[in-house]
């Protein structure tokens, strides 16, 4: 067999050159601009906020390190505890309804016809409005003297109710406002999930003579289970951060009944100028949201694995 130049060339011992390195610090220039802003606007304030939460001082005075005193004070502060309770109450009022109504709307509106598209447009429209427009609109609905509900009540011969001035009704009124504002997001998330369900599953079910109810409970709902939990967590995180609606509609009243944690932070920081105290409350909220975010991360990374 004719020999070819394949056999390891034994005599060929050149100093081994290093391969052209791809690790290059100049490549980091692409990420540097963002990282600069990231550090200045997120990392530093976060660390500073944590440090602030262990200090006491005012806007002009020097901060003094007080350890965990702010946190101890928070958990003895009836208004803060009320704010925490209000926040949970609000989440309970809005999140289950937003999730179930969003799912319901998606199930009914997941079709090609024109009327369904029009209705989808209507339900998502309010999402693009800013909180100040939304609250302005709804104040003119809830206003006892000349508001839409007041006028309606008078037309029916009843006494108008001052929803936003009633301790029991103010929070539900804010919840209604929020649901009106936010219903679009859960709906489109569910719609996206429904469109991911493989069509041949429905064809197989039809061949198996499944009823519409069976198709819904055995195929559709199990297929979007993950989205269901995802929506719940996204909404919990969003609604936990309730701020603008009560700040603009009730200022937290009457009798603190609509003051959520974020409004508490805002008022501690920018009304009383107790920055350390406000920062401590912010850390508590951060911890709560972090727990929810961790659950969400688990769910969404699990989705990729599936």
């Amino acid at each position: 067999m004719p020999s070819v130049a394949v056999e390891p060339a034994a005599a060929f011992t050149v100093p081994v050159p290093r391969g052209r390195g791809r690790q290059d610090w100049r490549s980091a220039l692409f990420v540097a601009p963002y990282l600069l802003v990231f550090v200045a606007m997120l990392v530093v304030p976060l660390a500073m906020g944590m440090w602030l939460s262990t200090t006491k001082g005012d806007l002009f005075g020097t901060e003094r390190w007080v350890g965990l005193a702010n946190f101890v004070r928070l958990f003895g502060d009836a208004i803060f505890l009320k704010a925490v309770a209000n926040t949970f109450y609000f989440v309970l009022l809005t999140v289950p309804f937003l999730t179930l109504a969003g799912l319901g709307l998606a199930l009914v509106l997941n079709r090609q016809e024109r009327w369904a598209a029009v209705l989808r447009t209507i339900f998502f429209a309010s999402t693009v409005l800013s909180v100040t427009v939304v609250t302005l609109v709804w104040r003119l609905v809830f206003l006892p003297d000349g508001g839409l509900l007041g006028v309606t009540a008078e037309a029916l011969g009843k006494t108008p109710i001052a929803f936003l001035n009633d301790e029991r009704l103010a929070m539900p009124a804010i919840a209604v406002t929020t649901i009106w504002w936010c219903i679009g997001l859960p709906m489109v998330l569910f719609l996206a999930a429904l469109q991911q369900v493989p069509r041949d599953l429905y064809e197989a079910a039809a061949l198996d003579n499944a009823s519409r109810w069976t198709t819904l409970t055995r195929i559709t709902l199990p297929a979007i289970k993950r989205t269901f939990f995802l929506v719940i967590i996204i909404e919990v995180i969003l609604q936990f951060q309730l701020f603008g609606q009560p700040q603009l509609m009730t200022l937290g009243g009457p009798n603190n009944s609509t003051r959520p944690i974020v409004l508490f932070i805002y008022e501690a920081g920018w009304r009383q100028w107790e920055l350390g105290y406000a920062a401590a409350a912010a850390q508590v909220l951060f911890a709560m949201i972090l727990i929810a975010a961790m659950v969400q991360y688990r769910l969404s990374s699990g989705k990729e694995a599936a």
């Binding site: 067999m1 070819v4 390891p8 060339a9 391969g19 052209r20 390195g21």
Partner: protein
Amino acid sequence: MAGVQLAEVGKAYGAVTVIERLSLDIPAGEFMVFLGPSGCGKSTLLRMIAGLETIDGGTIRIGERRVDTLPPGERGVAMVFQHYALYPHLSVRENMAFGLRNLRVPAAEIAARIAAAAASLEIEALLERKPGQLSGGQRQRVAIARAIVKQPELFLLDEPLSNLDAALRVRTRLELAQLHRRLGTTMIFVTHDQVEAMTLADRIVVLNAGGIEQVGTPMEIYLRPRTQFVATFVGSPRINLLPVAIEEGPAGSARARLGDGTMLDTAIRFAGLPQGAMTLGLRAETVCVTAGDDAATHGTAEVVERLGERTLVHTLLSDGSRLVAEDAGVSAVRPGDRIGLTIDAAAAHLFDATGLGHHRAETA
């Protein structure tokens, strides 16, 4: 036009060696095919030549230049990718011009080169289209055209036919062979398809597990496989392998005894063969079904595959070993038939325990 020299080239990802200190000499103008199963390192080797993979050691030369320290764009090579890698948002014309602009080729010459390449590949009508508007075959031609306009010293082709349907693949194969003849440029073509390798190559490098099994012309690879791996990887149907005992036969040749007792006098010299059990390699075309009394052995037909121009008969021998034999296209054999087989023992190969092949003495 330039040859390629690899000397002691190696590559490892952490503890996993992908290419093991490998040397290879490709003369200028040769059509060289890297052939091997997936994961053998053939694509990695090609990408090392292109500069898309770093090398851990050794040197690569293209022509007189040492290129292993140069970035890919300065190596004077052009590559056709498996998935074509056309720039999706650029028109065909812009795809072809992109590399030339980076080389600061004058606009007039760019236009001339594109026109020439487009004419030779018959894609003039497609020049203003985007890759997304082309069929698979058209994209393939554009990818080749994009390589041609660069007038490289070396063409690298990474499984360029694997995404085409069967008919188009055969046609493009022919066109590639013509292209090589016309341009005369050195080409390195990576494939796992032995038919592509056999039909296109001046020489084939068979790779396995990061190392070279054999380098040779297609017929050398087929007729004198250096190892059992090469013998089984090249050839369809797969070469028959049977365990045999060896003794000295007439005129110093090796005589093999099959499991069913059949004696075969090979043309391989007995002297120089290692002692002990060996494996006999028989291509299907050297084992033929016979109705006469010239049969070397007998067996039972298990499966009969009719390919049209010939028939493959999977045969069970009396000792339980199996053998694929050939018969004419129009064959009367049916499964279950008892059949006789002739064996062209002179064409047989022997493989020793290390897998090394032994073949009949070279004939002038």
